[in-house]
Structures are given as structure tokens and as C-alpha cells.
Amino acid sequence: MNTQLEELACLYVLDRLDARERAAFEARLAHDPDLAATLREIEASLDRSVRALAQHEPPAGTLERIEARISGSRQAAAEPPSRGAAPMWAAAARWGAAAAVAVGVGLIAVRSLQRAPAEGRPFVVVVGLDSLRSRLAEVPVQERPRDADASFIQLATLAERFWEKPDDLPFRLDSAGQSGRGYALFDPGSNQGFIAIRQLPAAGRGKEYRLWLLDTASGKVREAGVLPAAAAAGGLYFFSVLPATSAKPGSPDFFVTAEDTGSPLSALPRGKVVLGESRS
């Protein structure tokens, strides 16, 4: 086994290959028994490293809470987690109640996206963003992704297409008089997406850009990640969010704010909105 293949196998086990590299590796794996054997040995190293950690039992009742979530039990969803841990998005939900009022005023919804992702024709949500507003549209896709990886590949393909051919977007990216412009693609089924930044001023000293998802029905906000500093120069960035807690989530909208660098987890969006609908 050569060094390059061993290194590739390590990256595969550590989940450090992108979708294209992973697909190529798996294609080779299917007909290379030596590579498969090496992979199994590296997997064994990883597995035993994990089992070698100081072992902790999960708190009592964790399985029951998981099963309640599987069953979609609202009662279980409302039950606070054990050991005093706050639900991750509880704080954001409090802000969302106020934000929901503003949402109905300025949002230009091209179409209603109330349909649950598991029903009807599969689609990807596309949100056009500039420094004043959001525009929502849905783009039908050929088939519903069977898992998160398939969704990633579908989104990445679409994101690249829109990046190379902006005219294919369901709306026009108008830059006249705008300090920023971009768009987000989102699959409500897998809760992951891409944000494309076409134009954005530098965040400034002590500031960083954060991406947020707003459920326009409930007003709940979920943090979708911190944009790297290089994003101001433009680019495509992957993100994922926690699943919506609502049984019937509404249309996902996105906005980007400039926040103090290193603000803690679950901090509310407090900074200036630089992309998406202004809520000031």
C-alpha cells in the first residue's frame, strides 16, 4: 500500500474528504481488496481510540428522550434536558417572538414554502439576499435525497451551477446601490445548505459575520455558523443547522449579521444586519 493511498484512507476514516473525493475513494474501495483491508485496520485504530477514552454513561432517560423524539412526542420535546442543560435554541426563540412581527412586513416571499419537506415534490429553498431584503423561491429537484450525503451533493451541484451561471437563479441579483449581495440554498430535509457571497464589505476589527436561519412561521432563529473572514472577498460556504423544533416549520429565511468576535453559543443576533431583510 503506497503512502498516498494510506493517507487517503486516513482522511476517509477521519471524514476529511469532500463529497467528490469520497465518492472516488469509495469507487476504488469497491474493487481494491488491499485498500479495503487497510481501511478496516485504520478504522479499528479509530474505534479503539474512542473506546480507550474515559467512559461515561449517558444520563438516565436519554434513550427514552430519543425515542420520544422519534415518535414526535410534543410532551417529550417540551421536557427540559437533564442536569440543567439549557435547550440550545431556547434563547433564540425568545428573540424570535419579537422578530416574527417584523417578518410579515418586509419579506418578499415569491411563493409559499409551507409544505413539509417530506411531502410533495422535492425542492431546494433559494433565498436571495442583499443589504435591504430577502427573496424566497423554491427550485424543484429531480429526486428527494436519500440521506444527508446525497443532499450535500445535490446542493453542492446546484450551488456551483448558480455560482457559474447567476442567470439560472430564480431571481436577479441586483447590486445597484447595495453594499452586499448573495444567496443561500437550503434543503429543509437535511437542514444543510450553502451560502454564496457575491459582495460584502469587510467585517471590521473585532467583528465577524454570522449566518442565521429564521423560521418565518414561528419566528425562531437558529444560528447557521460563522463566515470566515475571507468570505467578504466572495465565495461559496457550506453550513448546517439543528432541526426545527416545530412540528410544522415555516419558510426558512436567512440573514447575516456583524457580531462581536467570539460571542458565546446561543447568543442572540444583536449586530447590524448586513445581508437579508433589515430588522432594525
Binding site: 471524514d15 479495503a36 485504530s45 474512542v50 480507550a52 461515561h56 430519543i66 422519534i70 442543560a85
Partner: protein, 192 residues
């Protein structure tokens, strides 16, 4: 003749297939086998018992939803579950917008134990295996050990690890590869 690990992997692959078909009992059996190591991994990665429990729930929800897509030709069942847990933790860490200060694998984890987790009673065989792993890591060169720990438990990309260690990415990749292969070699040596 299949060894015990292969038998266990085959059994767990069957449990995943049954879970994918909606069999709750199979899912509970998987939880019984995987919850402690995955929870321990989450505790190690995020450094907080409460967050680790939330993330364990999220990871098992993903296991339930995606069990039908598990392909035994691509990975062992436990490795697949570890990947689900690591991805969940890494997504969480990136949302939290800071990376944890990772601690050496050899460090006594009792500081974490005091925060509320129940330490698992482990079989003598499992303890011996852990000692082997810890010993192998302890004997590895410091840079290689640090790179491997960061790759396994910090959620950092290789480029970020390179930045942290002040080394080229290629060097870091090489250390990580060497670390995993050295560990493999130690673990496959026959027990006297």
C-alpha cells in the same frame, strides 16, 4: 473463522439494517452497545456533559433516520456511528464558533467525571485494550501524538491543526497517517 470483532460488527450491521426498517428493539440494542462510547466521545469533544447529552440525542436521531443507508462495504458499523457522532459534535463546535482546548488522551479525565457523568464499569478485557491504546499513544513522538489527538477529538481541519502546531499541512497529514498506522501496528501485535 471470523474473530469476535468481526462477529460483533456483523451483528451490529444486522441491528442497523433492522433499525433502518423501523425496528425499535434493534435500535435499543444498538443504543446499549454504542451510547457509552459515543457519549464519552462527545464529552471529550465538547467538554460539557449537558451539551454532550443533547448531541448524543441528535446523533442517535441521525442513526435512526439514516440506518437504512448504512453500507457495510464502506465502513464498520461502529466507525459509521462514530462518524455520525463526530460530525454532530464538529457542527456544534463550529456553531459555537470556538474550538475547545483539547486535552491529551492520557490525561486523567476525572475533572469531567465530577461534572455529573457516571463512569462506566468496564470489563477487564476492555480495560486492557484501552491500556494498550493509551500505551501506544504515549510512546509516539509528541508532535505526532498531538496532531492525532487534534484530528480525532478537536473538530479542527488539517489546515487548522497545521496552524495550531505551526507546521505545513503536508507534515501534519503525514503525522496523522503515521499515528494511525503506528496504533494499528501495536494493536495487531499478538498478545504474549
Amino acid at each position: 473463522m471470523p474473530n469476535p470483532q468481526e462477529n460483533a460488527a456483523a451483528e451490529e450491521a444486522r441491528l442497523l439494517a433492522r433499525s433502518g426498517a423501523g425496528d425499535r428493539e434493534a435500535f435499543r440494542l444498538l443504543y446499549a452497545r454504542y451510547s457509552a462510547p459515543l457519549f464519552s466521545l462527545a464529552v471529550r469533544m465538547v467538554g460539557n456533559i449537558g451539551e454532550a447529552e443533547e448531541l448524543l440525542q441528535d446523533a442517535f436521531m441521525k442513526v435512526w433516520r439514516n440506518a437504512a443507508s448504512y453500507d457495510p462495504r464502506k465502513s464498520r458499523p461502529f466507525t459509521w456511528a462514530v462518524t455520525v457522532m463526530r460530525r454532530t459534535c464538529i457542527d456544534h463546535l463550529r456553531r459555537r464558533s470556538r474550538l475547545p482546548v483539547t486535552t491529551p488522551l492520557l490525561e486523567d479525565d476525572t475533572a469531567i467525571d465530577r461534572s455529573g457523568g457516571d463512569v462506566v464499569r468496564r470489563s477487564a478485557e476492555a480495560s486492557e485494550d484501552s491500556e494498550l491504546v493509551r500505551g501506544a499513544i504515549a510512546e509516539s513522538p509528541p508532535n505526532q501524538r498531538r496532531a492525532l489527538e487534534l484530528a480525532l477529538f478537536s473538530g479542527m481541519t488539517h489546515a487548522e491543526i497545521a496552524g495550531r502546531l505551526g507546521q505545513p499541512v503536508g507534515t501534519v497529514k503525514s503525522w496523522i497517517r503515521r499515528g494511525l498506522l503506528d496504533l494499528r501496528a501495536t494493536l495487531t501485535e499478538p498478545t504474549p
